[in-house]
């Protein structure tokens, strides 16, 4: 099915089972918390060798020699592999082809260059540290490392009207420079793979988000046919973008397994994951906002400088939602990429909005302050009728509802902010808010659904569940459509032997594969209707029975009934601007002596189309809000200014929020159906929770303490530096 027009009527609404949307717990949850769900590295494979990656201790240059002999003489060492097909960097999401190979050409400090394989992990790790390499490294002062000084390329440019004039003519305006630090995905499960080769087929258990692309990336890397490769990722211990494309460990394990004709496991160390997988680029942004005397935007400027390695296509899409969120006839949107030799920049949860929205929403708060318009009201005033440049209509958009319902639930006190209005001992207390927006992504997906004579159904797709609840919601969609209790639906994911799903990324998994499952079920229902002699509309299925009490299994004639659903996005995205929206409200305390900030409470209201499972959706919203707290207050990658290496490469020094940093998070899911988004009227929720939330905290810091911090994260030193003298 190709979607070219809005799906106004969705069959899901007429179903009788009543399981869709219910807050069911994750079906694989018990297996995970009891340790019986195997992650990539945990499969027991006989005769398995262990591989450890060796990384380059220099920034740019060429490996000229590797002393394999000394290493091979060490206990247990089986091979030192420096095959030119190994990857030098991870593949970008949806690359669909081999990432940069030739690891002997080093482009960033810590780049994997070889794999040491031994009988035990300890032997391999020790030998890897002993491996002697010779290299010709470029002089550090010739290597661009600072985005502010490096050469840049323009990546995106939209201009309309005359922004400079609008700024001049404005009753109120803001012109601010805001920076955000680099982020790491910091998934709990490190990158890992076990490769097995039986002489004709390569089977790889790996920790990956998008098998549908990963298989072609691996095939291309190895110069093999996809038919001869099987990828398995049944459980993934978090991805957040870091496992969208194949990475060094999967390719290296595969090459080693084929060469040595024995299974090979490669698990990256925590430091390696941090240093050579993907960083979210740091950003430097300039926001220019101009309004008339009523607070209606007349000018909107958002420019950003991000960075990446030379040759990488990915540029943190900072302006993605700025493109359509607010009005402002005179517009400049410009994204530049600086070419520097730090580790690869790529997708980290909510690429673009995760850093673009907080900057925009801080600027909006400054504008509210400047113009004396209440921050919520300022946003409500500036929701455009249609796309401010193209004129395209919006699909369903719940921004106003989110702002209002969020404000109501939080108890937002409208009006201009008066910093330092409330003090409790050492602490200033204040509140702030921000809008959320995240583009709606959707992609092609296939899934097979089979009705079995034993009264169960099976859903199969190579889609992954990276901890988000995919197993659960796909089962709910099938159960709803086929009139079965959820337990009667078995969901099998994460294996390329199944039909190609969409992969998990860009929040598109649920709506894409969910639509494929829906399409497959529609096909099954058609057949069932024909066999039962009732029209589809009258086919009321519940608990395995038709309305007249006939059992569905009676219609199967003793065999399986199977249908493959194939969903393709079609042209509809040309006709509508589709996105998820929301609003955040936060209350913080800021220590007047130390600048430490703690979030006291936070409310998020989100509209993201049909809620497929109230519990897993809520968890995604909360997870995003936790990330907002991290982005606001603590998370920052620090790179050495001289050689570009990442210095804080573990979970002790890269500070994600801990439990104590996270208060109760209130989530409001605003009722919505978006017919233009997908056949099941759902949008994505994996990322929306962190698309602006950091600004609500930043704005609350201002309201509390008067410190207008312009650099994320707002660590105590920065808050203190921005704190006005009392």
């Amino acid at each position: 099915m190709e979607q070219d027009k809005p799906a106004r009527d969705c069959d899901l609404d007429g179903m009788k089972q009543g399981v869709l949307g219910k807050p069911l717990s994750r079906s694989e949850g018990l297996a995970k918390v009891t340790g019986t769900a195997p992650y990539a590295a945990e499969y027991h494979v006989d005769n398995c060798l262990e591989g450890v990656l060796v990384t380059a201790p220099f920034t740019r240059g060429t490996i000229t020699g590797i002393d394999k002999d000394a290493c091979l003489a060490m206990d247990g060492v089986v091979a030192v592999i420096d095959d030119s097909r190994m990857t030098a960097r991870p593949a970008q999401g949806t690359a669909d082809e081999a990432p940069v190979q030739q690891p002997q050409q080093v482009c960033y400090w810590g780049q994997p260059i070889a794999l040491v394989v031994a009988e035990t992990f300890e032997q391999a790790r020790d030998a890897a540290k002993h491996l002697k390499i010779t290299f010709e490294a470029d002089e550090l002062d010739e290597i661009p490392l600072d985005p502010q000084e490096a050469e840049t390329e323009n990546n995106q440019s939209t201009r309309q009207g005359d922004l400079a004039q609008a700024m001049n003519d404005a009753s109120h305006s803001v012109d601010g420079r805001i920076t955000t630090a680099g982020h790491a995905s910091a998934a709990m499960e490190p990158h890992a793979a076990i490769a097995q080769w039986d002489g004709s087929t390569l089977t790889v258990h790996a920790s990956l988000q998008m098998l549908n692309y990963n298989i072609s990336e691996l095939a291309d890397s190895l110069d093999m046919e996809e038919e001869n490769i099987r990828l398995v990722s049944r459980y993934v211990g978090g991805g957040f973008g870091s496992k969208l494309g194949i990475s060094e460990e999967t390719v290296a394990a595969s090459i080693a397994a084929i060469a040595l004709e024995r299974p090979v496991r490669v698990v990256m160390s925590r430091q390696q994951v941090f240093q050579c997988i993907m960083r979210r680029s740091e950003t430097t942004q300039r926001l220019r906002l101009a309004t008339d005397d009523k607070g209606d935007l007349t000018g909107f400027g958002h420019q950003a400088l991000v960075s990446n390695l030379p040759g990488e296509e990915f540029a943190e899409p900072v302006l993605q939602s700025s493109d359509f969120l607010y009005a402002g006839e005179n517009r400049v949107l410009e994204l530049d990429v600086a070419r520097i030799h730090q580790m690869t920049a790529g997708s980290v949860r909510a690429p673009g909005e995760a850093v673009g929205m907080p900057a925009l929403e801080v600027a909006m708060d400054m504008l509210a302050q400047e113009s004396g318009v209440d921050p919520v009201e300022l946003r409500l005033r500036n929701i455009p009728e249609s796309h401010p440049v193209e004129g395209t209509p919006y699909s369903s958009r719940k921004l106003a509802e989110c702002l209002k319902q969020g404000a109501e639930a939080f108890g937002w006190e409208a009006g201009p902010r008066k910093p330092r209005h409330t003090r409790d001992g050492e602490w200033w207390i204040g509140t702030g808010m921000a809008s959320a927006a995240r583009v709606h992504n959707i992609s092609e997906a296939k899934a097979r659904v089979t009705l079995k004579p034993d009264g169960t159904a099976m859903v199969e797709t190579d889609m992954t569940d990276i901890g988000t609840g995919t197993y659960t919601i796909l089962g709910q969609i099938a159960a709803e459509m086929l009139g079965l209790p959820r337990e009667k639906v078995l969901v099998e994911l994460g294996d390329t032997q199944f039909p190609r799903g969409s992969g998990s990324g860009g929040s598109w998994g649920a709506s894409s594969v969910g639509s494929a499952v829906y399409v497959a079920c529609t096909g099954l229902r058609k057949t069932l209707g024909e066999r039962a002699g009732v029209s589809e509309d009258e086919l009321r299925l519940k608990d395995g029975k038709l309305a007249d009490g006939t059992s569905v299994t009676d219609l199967l004639n003793g065999g399986d009934l199977s249908e493959e659903g194939h969903y393709e996005p079609g042209d509809i995205d040309d006709d509508f601007v589709a996105a998820g929206y929301g609003a955040y409200f936060a209350q913080v305390r800021v220590n007047r002596f130390t600048g430490e900030t703690r979030v006291e409470r936070m409310t998020g209201a989100f509209g993201f189309g049909r809620v497929l499972n109230e519990k897993t959706a809520r968890s995604q919203c909360q997870g995003g809000m936790v990330w907002s707290i991290g982005a606001a207050l603590t998370e920052a990658l620090h790179f050495d200014p001289r050689d570009g290496h990442l210095v804080n490469c573990d979970l002790a020094e890269y500070h994600v929020p801990v439990n104590r940093d996270v208060p109760d998070l209130e989530v409001i899911m605003v009722e919505e159906r978006d017919p233009a988004a997908s056949p099941i009227q759902a949008k994505g929720i994996g990322e929306l929770g962190m698309c602006g939330g950091a600004a609500a905290i930043a704005n609350a810091i201002f309201d509390a303490s008067g410190a207008r911090v312009m650099d994320f994260p707002m660590t105590p030193d920065r808050v203190l530096a921005a704190m006005p003298a009392s």
Binding site: D75, E122, T594, E596, R598, P641, H645, V647, D661, D717
Partner: protein
């Protein structure tokens, strides 16, 4: 991790003999040592597991103080009744450190000897005089966010990262050390850690063969006990700056001000001049400022950590205000 020998002595005597070699190291909770061995930062040829030794006791001393055995876990120490009643600053400092899981394993001796968290120290592909003497200091012109502003040297600007020892320095506790034979000695906590000078590889005064057996807290003194730890996140983060304080008042004047600072130097920082300055004074913002001036008169930042100087000043003022009841 390099291959290593492993021994588990049953007596202190045996242990001292075994650790006499420069390539041997004592293993207590392992929460620091094992991590560093995996990174090949520590490469002992032999590990002497001291966990069989009976050094876990916490017991009263004859003069009313408390002796905390070297193997007492941080959890046990922080939960001990007398520690909570008489040495609150110590309980608070320990609980401000690491996580419950780590504190369950971490020991008194191991905590005192934990190594710096300097990013260059833990990365063997970077220069570091502490790890590899003579190789240079990666941090001085690099990312020095965690680093020291007091007592640094051109060879090393690392900090001692712990919390427990900062409280012990304020309490003027003493480290009890056993050596080979009957060469036992005691060293005040305030003198246990060293400044880096030109031998940053030596964190503290322990010699090969020496093992910490316990820490003696003197008899409790009166006064408010406070541990203030400034950090980016509210738990599971090392101090940017910390202050341990025991402050007593007498008729509106400061009668005692025992202060020690974490996050500022290669050792828990104790400056006896602060007590001299503060005692006898009526507490006020001006007095606190003078104390901070004195504390920080030789402070030097290294770019990334410049903020620690004003932060230390503010943390000190906040702590003294809290302790003396002065409103700032």
């Amino acid at each position: 991790m390099r291959p290593f020998q492993y021994a588990r002595p049953e007596s202190l005597e045996q242990a001292s003999q075994l650790t006499g070699n420069a390539d041997t190291m004592a293993l207590a909770g392992g929460t620091n040592l094992i991590d560093l061995m995996k990174l090949q930062v520590e490469t002992p040829q032999e590990l002497i597991d001291i966990n069989r030794l009976t050094m876990g006791e916490i017991a009263d001393t004859d003069d009313g103080g408390l002796r905390i055995g070297a193997l007492a876990t941080n959890t046990a120490t922080a939960a001990h009744d007398r520690v909570r009643q008489d040495y609150e600053v110590l309980a608070r400092a320990i609980l401000a450190g690491a996580t419950q899981q780590l504190r369950n394993k971490a020991t008194t001796g191991g905590n005192l000897c934990q190594r710096t968290r300097c990013y260059y120290f833990t990365n063997i592909d970077q220069p570091c005089n502490k790890r590899d003497p003579g190789s240079g200091c990666g941090a001085i012109e690099g990312i020095a966010r965690l680093h020291g502003v007091l007592g640094t040297s051109p060879h090393c600007i690392a900090t001692y990262p712990g919390d427990m020892a900062v409280a012990m320095a304020a309490l003027d506790a003493t480290v009890e050390i056993a050596g080979t034979g009957d060469r036992a000695r005691s060293v005040p906590v305030r003198d246990f850690h060293r400044l880096p000078g030109d031998t940053p590889e030596k964190d503290n005064v322990l010699e090969p063969g020496e093992i910490i057996t316990g820490v003696i807290l003197p008899a409790p003194v009166s006064g408010r006990q406070i541990y203030r730890k400034v950090r980016e996140r509210s738990s599971y983060a090392f101090a940017l700056v910390s202050v341990a304080a025991i402050v007593d008042m007498d008729e509106g004047r400061i009668a005692r001000a025992d202060l020690a600072f974490g996050g500022l130097a290669h050792k828990p920082w104790h400056d006896p001049r602060l007590s001299e300055l503060l005692v006898g004074e009526e507490p006020s913002a001006a007095v606190f400022d003078r104390a901070a001036d004195l504390l920080l008169e030789d402070a030097q930042g290294y770019g990334e950590n410049d903020f620690k100087i004003p932060l230390a000043r503010r943390a000190l003022a906040a702590t003294l205000a809290d302790a003396t009841g002065v409103e700032l």
